[in-house]
């Protein structure tokens, strides 16, 4: 494993920390600005999940040395991930839907703020997207 110097590790670590801070600030900013709907999504998705993917890639590529590992290892891992997507999209039509062709789920979403834990100040008023 030539070329894996401490300096490189330190650089990656600092980059990870910066990304981490952005990923926390993004959604918080959305709360502070009181963003709703699409613009909220536009801020949260890239900051929370986009950065998570970048961070995961950096850890995998540099700390786990996947960049210099034999080709088998990344293939194994990518194939695993791909299969999980197969599962997710195969199941989506049933589990992620409140109704489908010739069926519906009569389950009623509990509405209003979840009062049982009394964190009403956290309730930023995003309504449950009602499927009924």
């Amino acid at each position: 494993m030539a070329g894996n110097s401490l300096k490189k590790y330190n650089q990656i670590y600092v980059a990870l920390l910066i990304l981490f801070i952005i990923s926390v600030l993004g959604p918080e900013l959305a709360d502070i600005l009181g963003m709703e709907g699409l613009s909220r999504m536009a801020l949260i998705l890239p900051t929370a999940f986009g950065i998570a993917i970048v961070k995961a890639y950096m850890v995998a590529a540099h700390f786990m040395h996947l960049k210099t590992e034999k080709i088998y290892a990344p293939y194994i891992l990518l194939a695993s991930l791909a299969l999980m997507f197969v599962f997710f999209f195969g199941v989506k039509i049933d589990i992620m839907a409140a109704e489908g062709h010739n069926w519906e789920k009569p389950y009623e979403e509990p509405t209003g703020s979840a009062g049982h834990h009394g964190d009403s100040h956290h309730d930023h008023g995003e309504k449950a997207d009602d499927h009924h």
Binding site: A79, L83, F87, I93, D94, A97, G100, H101, K105, Y107
Partner: protein, 575 residues
């Protein structure tokens, strides 16, 4: 599971000459052969239990309400528990341990010319967890409320709540047993894959690996890839059962159908997990006794890989009418019918292997040939069920039951017998008696067909599964239908009786069988280079090197009709 990360090269200062005690030699051994035998004998013991269950509930179906000899009266709860655990045992505690774990453990290091698995202690741990799982399962029959009776698919909410299934202890214990078994096979599977990837003999290239090893490895990969979501699901279901969470409770926003998806995402690849090792075993035996090179090795290999990949896209065909969205059936019918292509390629290549051969009808060969014939029936009946339109009618009938017994019986039972008759000389250094073997063969095969052909007819007549007494249904209580049930049951009893010659033959041959030399069948693969039985370390004369593919029978350049893989030759045949 993280154990694998650390368990590594064995460091030991014991002396080789030191006489080992019974316990360290046979119980706590890390030798792959001993662990293979442990799996095999545990699997056979569990098969006897599963067979006994089949006997009890078939007797109840044939003679409803009367006391079954060696059991007594069969209550509805007992019936449900028997069928559930018959299925569970036969798949998780018979087919998997015998075909993958026992044969994988025994064959992999021998066939790739190595002295052991790469992680012997993980291997031992895997068997110990497996044994624990078997004990938990058996214990679950004796707890208050009895064993779990919610079918081997364990659909919630029935399996999730004691108020529905009435087995407050049986259901969680069943689930824990299955989960432990899965963990055991994950450990074993990682060991198998790593061993074959890394520890092959010098000169053994990709296409020099015997097809059975390929298939065990692909099966291990399929298992690992499919079972993960089920492990997550099992944790969720266990929490539902024991703690009272509501992951699968629709009244609290959960979804019971999620379990079906998690289960069948595992459940369908699982069929191929057990099928592939059996196919591999049959290939080895057929090539040896037909004295033929395996027809289109590469094509079979790629078809197998294609089959493995495709098997992840078909799972919802078990759920066509289970309340999933009907539009999904279009996709899953298509993939299901497509999967007939790789299976057909494999079967055709196997049949083509016979062409131009010189077939010796040993018991092992008879079992291998009957595997093809019986599995063909199992395979083609799958077309009716894969077609969603016909599945509306046939789903959960005896047609389904007969179909998957025509696949699982060849896989689990015929595959196992093929392997045992073929590798018995290597395992124990003696041959089994051929005459008794043939009696066993014909008795088993004929009575097996007599059990399940009537069940196809009953299923097509609309008889559903898991019903303990058909006399409650006027349309199914007719005398001619009952006659078929009685016929199937009698055939089952006959088949079970025909297993007695096998057991006696096995035990007697262990002690008094004809002595076998290194290579009694004149086969090519590396396990026949080792002495019979192989000592600890397998190859006392040094590890073999590989010069050619595993199936060079009747090569024109050679006087002998076989050409062992390790024999240096003047030319290196193309692979």
């Amino acid at each position: 599971m993280a154990e694998v990360a650390t368990a590594d090269v064995a460091h030991d200062d014991h002396h080789h000459e030191h006489e080992e005690s019974f316990w360290s030699k046979y119980v706590f051994s890390t030798d792959h052969k001993i662990i293979g035998f442990q799996y095999m004998f545990t699997g056979i013991a569990m098969a006897l239990i599963g067979g006994y269950f089949a006997y009890v509930f078939r007797m109840q179906l044939a003679f409803p309400g009367s006391s079954v000899p060696f059991f007594g009266l069969v209550s509805p709860a007992a019936y449900n528990s028997l069928v559930t655990n018959h299925g569970t045992i036969m798949i998780f505690w018979v087919a998997m341990p015998v075909l993958i774990a026992a044969m994988g453990n025994f064959l992999i290091p021998l066939m790739i010319g190595c002295d052991d698995m790469v992680f012997p202690r993980v291997n031992r741990l895997s068997y110990q967890i497996f044994l624990l799982s078997a004990i938990v399962l058996i214990a679950s029959f004796f707890v208050p409320g009895g064993g779990f009776g919610g079918a081997w698919t364990a659909y919630p909410p029935l399996s999730a709540m004691a108020k529905y299934n009435a087995t407050p202890f049986g259901a969680p214990m069943w689930l824990i047993a299955v989960t432990l078994e899965i963990v055991a096979f994950l450990l074993g599977g990682i060991n198998f894959i790593t061993t074959v990837m890394n520890a092959r003999a010098k000169g053994m290239r990709m296409y020099d690996i015997p097809i059975v090893i390929w298939m065990i490895v692909i099966a291990s990969m399929l298992f690992m890839a499919s079972v993960g979501p089920l492990v997550a699901g099992a944790v969720m279901l266990l929490f539902d059962q024991t703690l009272g969470t509501t992951f699968f409770d629709a009244s609290a926003g959960g979804d019971p159908v999620l379990w079906q998806h998690l289960f069948w995402f595992f459940g369908h690849p699982e069929v191929y997990v057990v099928l592939l090792p059996a196919m591999g075993i049959v290939a080895e035996v057929m090539c040896t006794f037909a004295r033929k090179k395996l027809f289109a090795y590469k094509m079979i290999l790629y078809a197998t890989i294609g089959l493995g990949i495709l098997s992840f896209f078909v799972w919802a065909h078990h759920q066509f009418i289970s309340g999933v969205d009907p539009r999904a059936a279009y996709l899953f019918t298509t993939t299901t019918l497509l999967i007939s292509i790789p299976v057909a390629i494999m079967l055709f290549a196997y049949i083509a292997t016979l062409y131009g051969g010189s077939i010796q009808f040993t018991t092992a060969m008879l079992f291998a040939l009957s595997f093809l014939a019986e599995f063909l029936i199992g395979g083609v009946t799958g077309i009716w069920l894969g077609s969603s339109g016909v599945d509306i009618y046939l789903h959960d009938t005896y047609f389904v039951l007969a179909h998957f017994h025509y696949t699982f019986f060849p896989i689990a039972i015929i595959g196992t017998y093929t392997a045992i008759y073929y590798w018995f000389p290597k395992m124990f250094g003696r041959k089994m008696n051929e005459t008794w073997g043939k009696i066993h063969f014909w008795g088993t095969i004929i009575s097996f067909n007599c059990i399940f052909i009537p069940l196809f007819v009953l299923g097509a007549a609309g008889q559903h599964r898991r019903i303990y007494n058909y006399q409650h249904f006027p349309d199914l209580a007719g005398a001619d239908m009952q006659d078929m049930r009685v016929f199937a049951t009698i055939s089952l009893v006959v088949m079970l009786l025909f297993q007695i010659p096998f057991i006696i033959n096995f035990i007697v041959s262990l002690k008094y069988g004809e002595k076998a030399d290194k290579n009694p069948w004149k086969a090519n693969t590396l396990e026949w280079v080792a002495p019979s039985p192989p000592p600890h370390g397998n190859f006392p004369d040094g590890f073999p090197e590989v010069y050619r593919g595993p199936y060079e029978f009747a090569h024109p350049d050679r006087e002998d009709d076989y050409w062992p893989q390790n024999e240096p030759g003047n030319q290196k045949p193309k692979t």
